[in-house]
Structure formats: structure tokens, C-alpha cells
């Protein structure tokens, strides 16, 4: 069976009263390949792609609220998002191909949570918070907390992504995705750095990377290192080293690290040099 509700209330009601776990279809770019490989045999589906109330974008009380059904194309073309959080646009523009960006949604990227999900490092660097709703109410969870235990209950839908607005001036960012060809390619690794510069120093710096470890992650040790420092090659090198050390300490070493860790270190250095405005 497939259900196609027209309002969020209807959708949540269907989830609450279903006697089986419904597979939620947003853009479809993750669900359809899964159907093809047999993953959802004899399952029922909830198609939320017709819910207009999940494609919002507005600012309120210091936050930018994004609807999870926004496609990656809608995000990278949206004036408010381009002006407010261009780092997210940079990340979304690197996802898949034009056809996939036209279908795939911000929410879908977060729910499927492949290790190479390209929007997630940017959302981490931006300090995003996720809101899940069920027919019983809503809950808020920071993205890092969600990533440590990515649960969306069978009765829940992701209904909003909140990003703190970047206050003040001196904001800059760096985003890079490494892939095996110049377009339409899975990420070999990606990195997002959001920094605020003040009088030539880092007032703050938040670094996240994806497709290296099993889930995209933040590096709080780098934030601590950057704070108050002048950008330099040496600072970049130190930050890269911290990242590599943190990765090898926290998870079993993979064969791909032979390639990925030196490259990641180089990208971290470039990120710091780039955000710091030196070359």
C-alpha cells in the first residue's frame, strides 16, 4: 500500500495508527534504489512528497528554519539561504547530479544518513538542530546528538531543521568535496569549515568532515585550537594533525585511511588558510 497525505496532521496520524512501520518517501532518491535491491519487499509506504508544508524557509528569532522536503536544488537557488548560509548551498550543490538534486531532499539526506551524505558536514558546522514531530508532539535534538544515535521513531517525521543565524560580520566558510570525477560522484571525502574572523584572527571556527568515518562528525578540538589565533600554514598543519589523530583514536583504522588521512589533513590546512584570507 502507499499513502499520500496532504497535510502534516494526516501524515502523522497515518504513522501513529499504522499497524506496520511505514517507509517514508520524501525525494525517493534513497528509497527507490533500496526498493530495487529488495529491501522493502511487502512493506507499505508513506509518500510525503506532496506535503507543501514541509518545504518552508523562514527566519524567526535568530534562527533560519528549513523544511525537510526542500530539494537540494531549491536550497541552492533560494535567495534567503544563499544570503544567510552559503555554506549549505556549497554543500548541496556538490550532491549527486542535477536530476538527483531536483529530487533529493535535505530531510532525506539526514534520515538515510549515508557516511557520504554531503549536506551533513555543512549542517554540523552550522550548528543545526533537528525537530521531529509525531501526533503526540515535537522534540528538538542537536545534530551531533542525533548522529550519535540516529533514531527517527516509526511514528515520527522530521519536520524542521533549525540553523542559528550568523550574527555579526567576518563570517567566512570553506567547503570541498573530493570525488573520482568532476560531477555526479559519491564523496571520497568532504569537509566544511565555518569561521568568523575578527581583526585578522579566528573568533570561532567549526570544522566537520564526511565520508571518512562511518558518520560525518565535528572536531571540537580544532575549534579550541583556532580560537583567537592568526591564520597560518602552520596553524592549518596543526589542525590537520589534530583531525587525523582524533580519527585514528576513535574508530578502527580502515584501509582507506592510507589515502584519506593525508588528504584530509591537506584539506583542513587549505580550509584554514582560505577562511583566514591568506594564500
Amino acid at each position: 500500500m502507499i499513502f499520500q497525505p496532504e497535510t502534516i496532521e494526516d501524515a502523522l496520524g497515518l504513522l501513529a495508527h499504522s499497524d506496520q512501520v511505514l517507509v517514508v518517501v520524501s525525494g525517493g532518491t534513497d528509497v527507490l534504489p533500496a526498493i530495487r535491491s529488495g529491501k522493502y519487499a511487502s512493506r507499505s509506504f508513506l509518500d510525503i512528497s506532496h506535503l507543501k508544508d514541509l518545504s518552508f524557509c523562514y527566519q524567526e528569532q535568530g534562527f533560519l528554519y528549513l523544511g525537510p522536503s526542500l530539494t537540494h536544488t531549491q536550497i541552492l537557488e533560494h535567495e534567503m539561504i544563499r544570503a544567510g548560509v552559503p555554506l549549505l548551498c556549497a554543500a548541496c550543490s556538490s550532491i549527486g547530479s542535477p536530476q538527483i538534486r531536483n529530487l533529493g531532499t535535505l530531510g532525506g539526506n539526514l534520515i538515510t544518513l549515508a557516511s557520504c551524505a554531503d549536506s551533513v558536514p555543512a549542517l554540523l558546522a552550522l550548528g543545526a538542530t533537528l525537530v521531529f514531530s509525531s501526533s503526540r508532539g515535537s522534540r528538538s535534538i542537536s545534530l551531533p546528538e542525533y548522529l550519535s544515535s540516529p533514531v527517527c521513531a516509526p511514528t515520527e517525521l522530521l519536520t524542521s531543521i533549525a540553523i542559528p543565524l550568523l550574527l555579526g560580520s567576518g563570517w567566512t566558510f570553506y567547503h570541498k568535496k573530493i570525488a573520482r570525477r568532476q560531477a555526479a560522484s559519491k564523496s571520497r571525502m568532504s569537509i566544511a569549515l565555518l569561521a568568523q574572523m575578527e581583526a585578522g584572527r579566528f573568533a570561532s571556527g567549526t570544522l566537520a568532515c564526511g565520508a571518512v568515518t562511518s558518520t560525518p562528525r565535528l572536531f571540537s578540538s580544532v575549534s579550541a585550537l583556532l580560537e583567537g589565533k592568526f591564520p597560518s600554514d602552520e596553524l592549518g598543519r596543526q589542525a590537520g594533525l589534530l583531525v587525523a589523530q582524533e580519527i585514528t583514536k576513535s574508530a578502527p583504522v580502515r584501509q582507506s585511511y592510507l589515502y584519506k588521512l593525508p588528504v584530509l589533513q591537506e584539506l583542513v590546512k587549505r580550509a584554514i588558510v582560505s577562511c583566514g584570507g591568506i594564500s
Binding site: G38, I178, R180, Q182, A183, Y259, P262, V263, E266, L267
Partner: protein
């Protein structure tokens, strides 16, 4: 802006009205409107869908195949195993269905025929294969050669007839005299042809004639006819193969088509219903031909002035458990292995080796991309060893008119242009090669920027047609109807390369007509003689000559008939501008057909000269002619990330005559971009016998964002082997790109990588993961 220039070597070359013109393709309208029907677009009333059941292990002995659960599923009409197939083993040892042993991960043990694709897939998953013993698969040349043979009747694990030897002079003596001796080994990977359309076939058994009719995406219809007839135990005249439009093939839609056609044919006969099979991309990746990985070891001796004195090389092609192409591809490799260079003493040995991996077959170039990667990399290493730049070294050593090539053929300047030197100079000057190359050499140690520029060159030469591989004959039928319009069919196939257009251009030129008066019909084995496979650019040489032959017959018959009735000599009846003499073509045709009862349908047949080749020494007339090329690649390498951007490709190619320059350009660029993929991103991972490269998200082929600026110079000559001098263009694009890029990489970084693809890991680490 990409540029394209055609130069005519010989100023007295003839001007034509239709040939040598960039006319629009005759099939373009159907393709841009989506009305062209490809394999999977065909459906028959009451058809069944067939789905194969594959092994779970690459190398295992089978205990049993249990189809009972599948047979019980509603909508399943039939399930077959090897015992239901009259003669399951085809040429090259390919089993239509395997029986006792799985020899690679693509071996199939049963096929289900059901009412829908979904039911067929579900039923296939319900077939149970029980394994008696699971073996460790042989996945490398070393393993294969040091293990017991996979087949009882081969010599070790050497592929039958795939060992080829060539010797000229005595390299050992040359090495003794050499000031510098270099030994290196180069290797390449399995890659897929990557046609966007997966294989598809629809097979019906016609109860009226007892003929099996196979309609599908088949590059070599006669080959498939022969193989399926053999499997069924039918005479050839009871198997008919009709070729649909093909969404790309490049050599690959051959073994896979034989397998799915044979299976569907057995099911169609048993069920009395049409049977359709379309591969998923995953099936196409696993169970179709790949380019053979080559491991090529060279030893070369040079004088201190940079003259090549002697070269020996040994090449191993990893072939998979079944193989029907290595015997031919390896022969071509043995002729070309020493590259387009004048070397007095050469020994070449090429071998094919069986393995429990995905299998090798034909993929554009047919050993040339692997061979050229090896020899052109080696040439650059040789140049460096005697402190010479790559251009000067090549100009010193490249083949020139009058030289003898390693297989003993003399490049007779009267009928075989060998202007490789001028092609090298052309691309070198056009790219300012020497200035850039020297500058980059100096910057290699510069650590200030992770982005490095590199410039590199490769040359190639390529024997035209099949040469000594086999009998290179072709057929065509040209029929003039009484309204003056013309039908053309040929034993050769259109698979995107534009042959249907170029053959029509030749017919139009010969008969003095507009191309709009000519209709080309897709290949149907009941309507034409066997012309062998459409490979190696034979389509234009053998096919083109065959249509020309047919047209000559028609012109002679018409001219004689008209002269007899209207007076004058037959020579006065010239076919041009829609006229025959002063008569309108249609009137002339109607006169011959209706008033004189003359048949205006002629079969053309092309046959090259007699073979004079000694397979023991690799000496003789290997090919009727050669194509020549030189390409310069300019790249930017990011040493920090491993990303290579190919910025510019500049190529000069000598191809005889371009029947349709726009098609030639497109073919060349298409091949070049395949070559780019081969060089830096394409790789199929079957390292443990299991397939890890499942679909296009794993197998990276170049996208539109990966293409460089292309600068192409066509050098045209009035060669006499092909029609109007055309020698073909299909392969030349792909052969030179990988070595040019890898040589550019060495120029940029000072590092020599001897395996491709030169991907992210190999750039950063120097080796693959």
C-alpha cells in the same frame, strides 16, 4: 573553443559531392524524437521474461540446483538448467548454462521464464544452488600460471591459441651493444565498455518455418546466429538474427548477447512463447566482456645517442574462465607491441591466461589501449634516461616511409603514407610542447603550490581491419527501385558509429544521388551474407568497399543497357547530379527494370589480398594499411588531493579519408573521452573473484564536467585500401590518451606511475589501495 581542422596531404585529392561532407546522420531524426526503437523497446504479444540464476561463489563445485520452489510460484512458466540445453558449450568454452562447476561469479545455472519481470526475479531468488566444494579463486596471472588448469584440455591455464610470438633480428645482441638497458613492467585494469544501454534480446520461435528469430542489441549478428544454432543443434538457416538499434557496444555486446539469446531461444522453443531478457546494469557489469588487464614487461636497449637498438616484451592478458577474443586481440598486440618505432631487433610474446574473474573480450582498441600505455610510457622513460625530451626522442626513432615494421612489412611510400614524424611535429608546435615540458620539469621540486602542470605526448599506429586475425571479407546489397530510390543492406551493423549514414553517403556518391534517396536497413542475417563482426573499423573499409562493389555492378549494368538502347558508349553514361548521362536517374532505373527486365539489385563483396603471414615468427603482411596518430595531453595535478584535471588534448591523426568529417570528429572525441576515463578513473574491482563494482555509482566514467578542450587535426590522404581512401576512425581516439596523460603526470611531478587508472590513490600514494 574546441577546434577541428582537416588538412589534405596531397593537394591533387579529388573533390566529392556527398562523400567527405558533414551530412547529418540519416538516423538522427528518429533518435532526437525518441522514436528509434532499441532492444528493450520491443515487445511481443504473450511474451515471457527470462531471468538467470547466478552462482554465489566465483569458483565452486556444484552439488545440486533445486528449482522446485521457483517452479511452484504462480506466473512461472518454465525453469531450465544445463541439462535442458542440447549443446550448452559455445565457442570460447562459454556455457549457455553452467553445470558442475562455477568458474566465475557470472556463471548462471538456471533460467526462469515468467509472466512478468517481477515474478521472474522473485522466482530466480527462490532457486537454491548447493555447493559441494568452494575453491580459492585464481585472480591474478601469477596465481593462474602456478595453479592447476581450470579446464582439462588447455595447456596449463593458457588460453587456447592466444599465445603469439614475433621476432625480428636478435635483441640479445642488441642489448650487448647498448649503452643503456631499461627494464620496466606496466599494468592495466579491467574496465567495462560502459554502453549506456544494457543488453536486451527478444526471441521467438516461428512455428510456420521452425525458425528461431532473435531480435536484439547485437553487434555481431552472424556470430550470434552461429553460436545459438550450435547450442540448439539447428542448421544456420533456422536461426535468424535481426539487429535492433544498439545503444552503444564498442565490442561488448557479443558474448553476453550469445548467452542471453541462447537461453531465451531454448525457453522460446519449449514454451512456444516469445521470451525477452534485458540485463540489469549489475548483470551487464558481471556477465559481459571487459577490456583485458595486461601486465607488460619490457626490456629495451638504446645507444647513448638515443637510438633504440633492441626491444623484448612479454605480455600477459588476464582473460577469465571463458574467452573467445584473446586469441585475436593478442595477435594484434604482438604486431603492435613495439610501438610505431624503427627497431631492428624485436621479440614480442603475448599470452592469454584463464582466471576465475570477470572475463575479457573486445573493447574498443582490442589490446591497443593496453599496449600503447606500456610502450609510450617506456619511450618517455627511455628519453629521460639519455637526457632527451620526448619529442626529439620520438622524432629520432619513429617509423618513417620505407622503414620495416617489426612484423616485417615495409612502409612503402607509394601506397602507405607513414607521416608520423610530421604528426608529432604538428602537435608539438601547436601546444608549444618543448617550452612547457622543460618549464614543468624544472618546477617539479617546487613545493610552493600543490597544483602542478604537466604536458605529455603519445603516438600510435594501428593496422587497418582484421589483418591476419581472420578472413576480412564483407558483403552488401544495393537495390534500385523503379522510382529511382535505393535500398542498402549490409552484413555490418550500425551501433552508433554512424555506419548507416556513411555507407549511404558512399552509395549516393557512386550513383550520383542525394543521400535522401537512400534508405539503409538494419542487419538481418536472412537478408545478407555473413560479413563477420563489425569491429576494428571494418565497417567502413570492408562494408564501404562492398557497397562500392555493388554500386559498380549496378552502374555497369545500367550503362550497358542504356548504351545498347539509346546509343553511344557505356562510359558516356555518367552518374552525377541525379542523372545518368542526360536521363533522370529514376527514368533510367524504370527503363532498365520495366522495359528491359534487368535486375537492379546487386550484391557487393569485398575481399582483401591473399594472406602471407607466418604465425611462428610473426612476420609477413600483417595488415593492408595503417593509421597514424599523435596526441599531446596537458593536465593539472593536485598533489594534495590526487585530483587530475585534463585541461587540453591536441591530436593529429592520419586516417585516409573522412567519409563524414562531423562523424569522424565525434567518433574521435568519444574515443578520447573513453581513453580519459581509462587513464584516471575507471576500474572494475574483482580482486577476490567477487564483483565489487556493481553499477555506475562505483564505475566512474567521464561526465560532461570532466572533458578537456579538444583540438583535432585530421590529415587526409588518398589511400587506396578503403573506399575513397577511408581507413576508419573508431579506435584511434582511445589508444593515445592514457599514455599521454601518464607521461604528462611524470612531467608535472617527476613521478612515474606504471599502473592505470592513475586515480586519486595512485597520485597521492604512488600505488592503488
Amino acid at each position: 573553443m574546441p577546434s577541428f581542422l582537416a588538412i589534405q596531404e596531397n593537394k591533387e585529392m579529388r573533390e566529392y559531392t556527398v562523400v567527405n561532407k558533414s551530412l547529418p546522420r540519416t538516423d538522427a531524426h528518429a533518435k532526437v524524437t525518441g522514436s528509434m526503437l532499441f532492444g528493450d523497446d520491443y515487445n511481443a504479444y504473450n511474451q515471457l521474461y527470462a531471468k538467470a540464476v547466478y552462482t554465489d561463489h566465483p569458483y565452486a563445485d556444484i552439488e545440486s540446483v533445486d528449482v522446485s520452489a521457483a517452479m511452484c510460484l504462480a506466473g512461472v512458466v518454465d525453469v531450465i538448467t544445463a541439462s535442458d540445453i542440447p549443446h550448452p558449450i559455445m565457442f570460447g568454452r562459454f556455457p549457455a548454462l553452467a553445470q558442475d562447476t562455477a568458474l566465475y561469479i557470472g556463471d548462471a545455472f538456471a533460467v526462469v521464464a515468467a509472466e512478468t519481470e517481477e515474478i521472474a526475479s522473485l522466482a530466480a531468488s527462490m532457486v537454491t544452488i548447493r555447493y559441494k566444494k568452494i575453491h580459492s579463486p585464481l585472480v591474478s596471472v601469477q596465481q593462474a600460471l602456478s595453479s592447476s588448469p581450470l579446464h582439462a584440455t588447455t595447456k596449463g591455464n593458457y588460453i587456447d591459441h592466444a599465445s603469439h610470438h614475433l621476432e625480428l633480428g636478435s635483441p640479445r645482441g642488441a642489448f650487448a651493444d647498448a649503452s643503456v638497458v631499461i627494464e620496466q613492467t606496466y599494468s592495466t585494469s579491467f574496465v567495462d565498455n560502459g554502453y549506456i544501454e544494457p543488453e536486451s534480446v527478444l526471441v521467438e520461435y516461428d512455428p510456420n518455418t521452425h525458425v528461431v528469430v532473435i531480435r536484439g542489441t547485437i553487434q555481431n549478428p552472424y556470430n550470434i546466429r552461429e553460436l545459438v544454432a550450435g547450442v540448439l543443434g539447428y542448421p544456420l538457416n533456422r536461426v535468424r538474427v535481426i539487429q535492433t538499434a544498439i545503444g552503444g557496444s564498442f565490442g561488448g555486446k557479443d558474448e553476453s548477447m550469445a548467452l542471453i539469446s541462447a537461453r531465451a531461444a531454448v525457453l522460446a522453443i519449449r514454451t512456444g512463447r516469445p521470451v525477452k531478457t534485458t540485463y540489469t546494469r549489475e548483470e551487464s557489469f558481471v556477465a559481459s566482456a571487459k577490456r583485458h588487464p595486461f601486465t607488460s614487461s619490457y626490456k629495451v636497449g638504446l645507444s647513448d645517442s638515443g637510438k633504440l637498438l633492441g626491444l623484448t616484451s612479454t605480455h600477459y592478458a588476464l582473460g577469465g574462465p571463458y574467452n573467445k577474443q584473446a586469441m585475436f586481440a593478442n595477435w594484434r598486440a604482438s604486431i603492435h607491441a613495439a610501438g610505431p618505432y624503427s627497431i631492428e631487433h624485436v621479440t614480442t610474446d603475448v599470452y592469454g591466461v584463464h582466471s576465475n574473474t570477470i572475463f575479457g573480450g573486445a573493447y574498443r582498441g582490442f589490446s591497443a589501449p593496453q599496449i600503447q600505455f606500456g610502450i609510450e610510457s617506456l619511450i618517455d622513460e627511455c628519453a629521460l634516461s639519455v637526457d632527451m625530451d620526448p619529442i626529439t626522442f620520438r622524432l629520432l626513432n619513429c617509423l618513417k616511409p620505407g622503414d620495416i615494421i617489426p612484423s616485417g612489412q615495409i612502409l612503402d611510400p607509394d601506397y602507405m603514407p607513414a607521416n608520423l614524424g610530421s604528426l608529432i611535429v604538428m602537435v608539438s608546435e601547436r601546444t608549444d610542447f618543448l617550452v612547457k615540458w622543460h618549464a614543468n620539469q624544472k618546477k617539479q621540486q617546487d613545493a610552493s603550490s600543490p597544483l602542478l602542470q604537466g604536458i605529455g605526448i603519445s603516438t600510435t599506429y594501428r593496422g587497418v581491419g582484421l589483418g591476419g586475425e581472420g578472413i576480412d571479407t564483407g558483403s552488401a546489397t544495393v537495390t534500385i527501385d523503379m522510382d529511382g530510390f535505393v535500398q542498402v543492406t549490409s552484413g555490418f551493423t550500425e551501433m552508433g558509429q554512424g555506419l548507416s549514414t556513411t555507407l549511404c553517403q558512399i552509395v549516393a556518391q557512386e550513383l550520383g544521388l542525394e543521400i535522401s534517396a537512400i534508405t539503409w536497413f538494419a542487419n538481418d542475417t536472412s537478408a545478407n551474407m555473413d560479413s563477420g563482426p563489425t569491429v576494428a573499423s571494418r565497417g567502413i573499409v570492408a562494408g564501404g568497399n562492398a557497397v562500392k562493389d555493388a554500386c559498380n555492378t549496378l552502374k555497369t549494368v545500367m550503362a550497358c543497357t542504356l548504351a545498347e538502347h539509346f546509343g553511344g558508349q557505356p562510359e558516356q553514361y555518367v552518374f552525377a547530379h541525379g542523372l545518368v548521362g542526360t536521363l533522370a536517374f529514376a527514368d533510367a532505373a524504370r527503363f532498365c527494370l520495366k522495359s528491359r527486365g534487368i535486375s537492379l539489385s546487386a550484391k557487393g563483396w569485398y575481399s582483401p589480398g591473399p594472406e602471407t603471414f607466418d604465425p611462428r615468427t610473426g612476420q609477413g603482411k600483417a595488415y593492408p594499411s595503417y593509421l597514424w596518430g599523435a596526441t599531446v595531453a596537458q593536465i593539472t595535478v593536485d598533489m594534495g588531493t590526487g585530483v587530475i584535471k585534463v585541461d587540453h588534448l591536441t591530436s593529429a591523426i592520419e586516417l585516409g579519408r573522412a567519409i563524414n568529417p562531423q562523424i569522424v570528429r565525434s567518433q574521435f572525441i568519444g574515443g578520447a573521452i573513453q581513453g580519459l576515463g581509462y587513464a584516471i578513473m575507471e576500474e572494475m574491482d574483482c580482486h577476490d573473484g567477487f564483483m565489487h563494482t556493481l553499477n555506475f555509482d562505483d564505475f566512474m566514467m567521464p561526465s560532461s564536467m570532466d572533458i578537456p578542450e579538444m583540438d583535432i587535426i585530421l590529415v587526409e590522404t588518398d589511400e587506396n585500401v578503403g573506399p575513397y581512401g577511408a581507413k576508419g576512425i573508431g579506435e584511434l581516439g582511445i589508444e593515445m590518451i592514457a599514455p599521454a596523460i601518464v607521461n604528462a603526470y611524470a612531467n608535472a611531478t617527476g613521478k612515474r606511475v606504471r599502473e592505470i587508472p592513475l586515480n586519486l590513490e595512485r597520485v597521492v600514494l604512488g600505488h592503488g589501495l
